[in-house]
Symmetry: C2
Subunit: 162 residues, 2 copies
């Protein structure tokens, strides 16, 4: 599923993209004995609707409209579950969340955030992670988690601004 991250910024069959990710999540949850409950499932579906990051309160509004609780912890807990099990990512720079485009695969995501259209892609980050570790090594620092995020212009928005 989108191994090189090209999908997000390219036009594609998004219904299939979304359904595939959802099916994958179901399978993973099943395999690991995780409980993909209605709120959690719905939160993931909401994130999967677009290749953009959504704030917790955006997700909450959507959930509330559909009859789930309307208090912040409802959204935060569902999102926390999704992030914890690799179904979604937290984008620190945006204080927001996005569905993971490579669920199941171990990967260090590099987020590419388009400042014009808010599009979000996940580029493969193995090389970046390696060089980050290389930079940290000489300081004797033991890296446990990392966030690598870039802001710029996606292909479509570069074209549009010229």
């Amino acid at each position: 599923m989108d191994p090189d991250g090209t999908l997000a910024f390219a036009s594609h069959d998004h219904a299939a993209c979304r359904d595939g990710a959802m099916a994958h999540a179901e399978a993973v949850a099943e395999a690991k004995g995780l409980r993909l409950t209605p709120v959690r499932r719905r939160a993931l579906e909401i994130l999967l609707e677009s290749h953009q990051a959504l704030g917790a309160y955006d997700v909450l509004d959507r959930l509330a409209e559909e009859g789930f609780g309307r208090q912040p912890p409802v959204a935060y807990r569902a999102l926390e579950f999704l992030v914890e099990h690799g179904f979604a990512h937290r984008i620190r720079r945006l204080n927001a969340f996005a569905a993971c485009m490579h669920p199941g695969e171990a990967h260090v995501p590099v987020f590419l955030i388009c400042s014009a259209c808010n599009g979000l892609a996940e580029a493969p980050g193995a090389a970046v992670a390696a060089s980050l570790r290389q930079a940290a090594g000489p300081l004797g620092f033991r890296v446990e988690r990392m966030s690598i995020e870039a802001v710029g212009l996606c292909p479509a928005c570069q074209g549009a601004s010229e």
Copy 2:
């Protein structure tokens, strides 16, 4: 001044470290015709007191104690100035700010955040930045800004936890 980022996690003459950074900032401000006003200067001094990131409200409290305004914009504006002109950095992952350890030099900072002691170091990020651009290139994404942050254990805290 600390070209390889080793200083933050090593014991060192911090008074000299701080004074050097401050002198550097003064010189740069002078050279560029920037107004390093009392609030701004004091905010920078506060950040320079430790190799840790401080929240805007921490800085605000300190400023208020010393007779500056006690409303959030006072701190946010001073910090914004410092970040904008390269005297400080914003650490997204922590919603916090830290003095720049390489003022004046063009550099992409890689932040190493110790989860045990909250220490913060700035590792050289040229290689990481390059590989990030390499990862973004195939997607046609034009990188404008990036944040590269790692959480883990600094040398001292690794020793302490064993």
